[in-house]
């Protein structure tokens, strides 16, 4: 039988160490909504979302109450809209109407973000893909809850450099359109290499075409719990350090597994995966950077950071995999700058640079995440940063991403406020040397060789 010590431990994790379930994301296939008539298409999409997801928010609240565990976000991911809208949409404006439909449906069912305004263009772009990408600025700036992602590269296909070039320009347009709000709409847009089909985390969540009609994916969190556990083993050797992270990750993940199974049962929708990511928030003590400090660094970004992060990421997976029947999504530590107070402190102290963050993304999930850069950064420079990140993912056979926020009208040393869970970010300097001629080249970078790995 459960003893009082175990009960106290679990409740302390929630009350003092910010343990929560970060998101329950309901993936919904829109493949059966395809129609050549734009009005009918929008109606079908609205009806499908509001039917399948009608009980999502209520169910999440019931689960919160049953176990006294906070479920921070309720979200929806959809089949990439470029695939769904191709038959009906003849212009970017046509595509943007679907974004408005998504936004309205999200508000109706009470989810705070809805993903899937996406295109998968790792090898080439169809006409529809390109129209969707060109519609992103008007789609994101005219809606509140819609998130967009574009998969630009993969290990099997290489990097679509035409799309990389285009996304640099599109990102600046999104920034320009929301410049009166510190270009915040850029945080709803992410580009990927090897994008997973079952990622529950925004902005990059979409419902892959290989998925079932509807599926429940859950993202857990708990940097604060790991930090607190490591405080108790200060100065111990690596074996003890790793075991502690593993055990903690196991416990955190079990909570996610329980919540996912309950949600699946109550909604009568199959359980997909648990995403084993350590996702920080700006709350004090809920920081991945603070774990790195606890491991022994003065600041995240100091020499040794990449090794410490590699260790952390690997142990979280080892503990988490055992705790869940299905693991997927991004599964790794997130290192966003704005959403992590410890990371913000590192930037302010001058301990971390964009280049060090890039190196860190080689050993953990996601990539350059929520990084504010000067608003006068050239489109080609942004494309260059994206291309570098795509290359890391492509060669290392992992997911990488870039979510950059060029803040129009602001420069290095200033800060930008995103609000709520998204926090604030100091604007980081970008290497000012040009990559114009590289980005101007047409075509794609071929897939890497899959043998001779050294």
């Amino acid at each position: 039988m459960i003893n009082i010590g175990e009960v106290i431990e679990t409740n302390e994790m929630v009350e003092q160490e910010n343990l929560d379930v970060r998101t329950i994301t309901l993936g919904i296939s829109l493949l059966d909504c395809i129609d050549a008539d734009l009005k009918k298409l929008n109606e079908k999409i609205y009806n499908k979302i509001t039917t399948v997801a009608k009980d999502l928010a209520k169910t999440a609240e019931e689960i919160e109450q049953e176990f006294a565990i906070p479920i921070v976000n309720k979200r929806i991911s959809l089949t990439p809209v470029a695939l769904i809208g191709g038959a009906a949409c003849k212009s970017p404006e046509d595509f943007a109407t679907i974004a408005h439909t998504m936004d309205a449906a999200a508000k109706e069912v009470g989810v705070n973000l809805i993903g899937g305004y996406s295109a998968l263009v790792s090898k080439g772009m169809t006409k529809a893909d390109e129209l969707l990408i060109r519609s992103i600025p008007m789609a994101l700036c005219g809606t509140e809850r819609v998130c967009s992602s574009v998969n630009l590269a993969s290990t099997k296909t290489g990097i679509n450099m035409d799309a990389v070039r285009l996304m640099g320009e599109i990102l600046l347009k999104v920034a320009e359109r929301s410049k009166d709000r510190d270009s915040v709409d850029c945080m709803k847009l992410v580009v990927f290499c090897n994008a997973p089909d079952d990622n529950p985390f925004m902005a990059g969540a979409f419902h892959g075409v290989t998925e079932a009609d509807a599926v429940i994916n859950v993202g857990v969190s708990g940097p604060g719990v790991v930090k607190r556990a490591l405080e108790k083993v200060r100065g111990e050797n690596f074996e003890v350090l790793c075991e502690t992270i593993k055990k903690t990750a196991f416990k955190v993940t079990r909570v996610g597994q329980l919540v996912a199974q309950e949600a699946s049962r109550m909604l009568n929708i199959p359980f997909g995966i648990i995403d084993l990511s350590l996702a920080p928030t700006p709350a004090v003590g809920d920081s991945v950077a603070d774990i790195l400090k606890e491991i022994g660094l003065e600041y995240a970004g100091a020499p040794g950071t990449t090794a410490a992060l590699a260790l952390l990421n690997d142990q979280v997976k080892k503990g988490g995999v055992m705790a869940s029947s299905y693991v997927g999504g991004l599964s790794g530590a997130f290192i966003p700058v704005s959403e992590d107070q410890g990371m913000i402190d590192s930037v302010l102290a001058g301990a971390i640079t964009l280049e060090k963050l890039e190196a860190m993304t080689c050993v953990c999930s996601v990539g350059l995440d929520m990084i504010a850069i000067p608003g006068d950064t050239k489109a080609s420079t942004i494309s260059g940063i994206i291309a570098d990140e795509m290359a890391l993912g492509m060669v290392n056979q992992k997911t990488t991403a870039a979510r950059l926020i060029p803040v129009i009208g602001k420069g290095v040393g200033e800060t930008v406020e995103f609000g709520g869970l998204f926090g604030y970010a100091p604007i980081m300097p970008v290497n000012r040397f040009s990559c114009d001629d590289f980005i101007r080249r047409k075509g794609r970078i071929p897939a890497p060789i899959h043998s001779f790995k050294n």
């Binding site: 039988m1 459960i2 003893n3 009082i4 010590g5 175990e6 009960v7 106290i8 431990e9 679990t10 409740n11 019931e62 109450q65 049953e66 176990f67 006294a68 565990i69 416990k251 079990r254 909570v255 597994q257 329980l258």
Partner: protein
């Protein structure tokens, strides 16, 4: 795992006369059977845990959560009511 109706009720706060009595009275009034009680003092705070079976309860789980929360406010302690599975999942393989 088989679904149970076991519920863990925890009471945390400053020790005063009659805490257990008040909580037990509430549970008895609502036909909730207590299976086990244990208590400890952590950093000067009174911690009590009850394992209860809500199978025959006359109120819904959600109502019990709210009413126990209100009772806690009255006594000046924090009362939580959670299904047992979260602890089973976390601490047992």
């Amino acid at each position: 795992m088989e679904k149970t109706e076991k519920t863990i009720i925890t009471v945390v706060g400053k020790d005063t006369v009659g805490i257990i009595a008040r909580v037990c009275t509430y549970l008895a009034d609502n036909k909730i059977n207590i299976l086990d009680i244990s208590q400890t003092i952590v950093q000067g705070y009174f911690n009590m845990m009850m394992i209860a079976d809500m199978k025959g309860a006359t109120k819904s789980f959600g109502d019990c959560v709210k009413e126990l929360d209100r009772l806690g406010e009255e006594i000046g302690v924090n009362i939580k009511c959670q299904k047992e599975e979260i602890f089973q999942k976390m601490h047992r393989i």
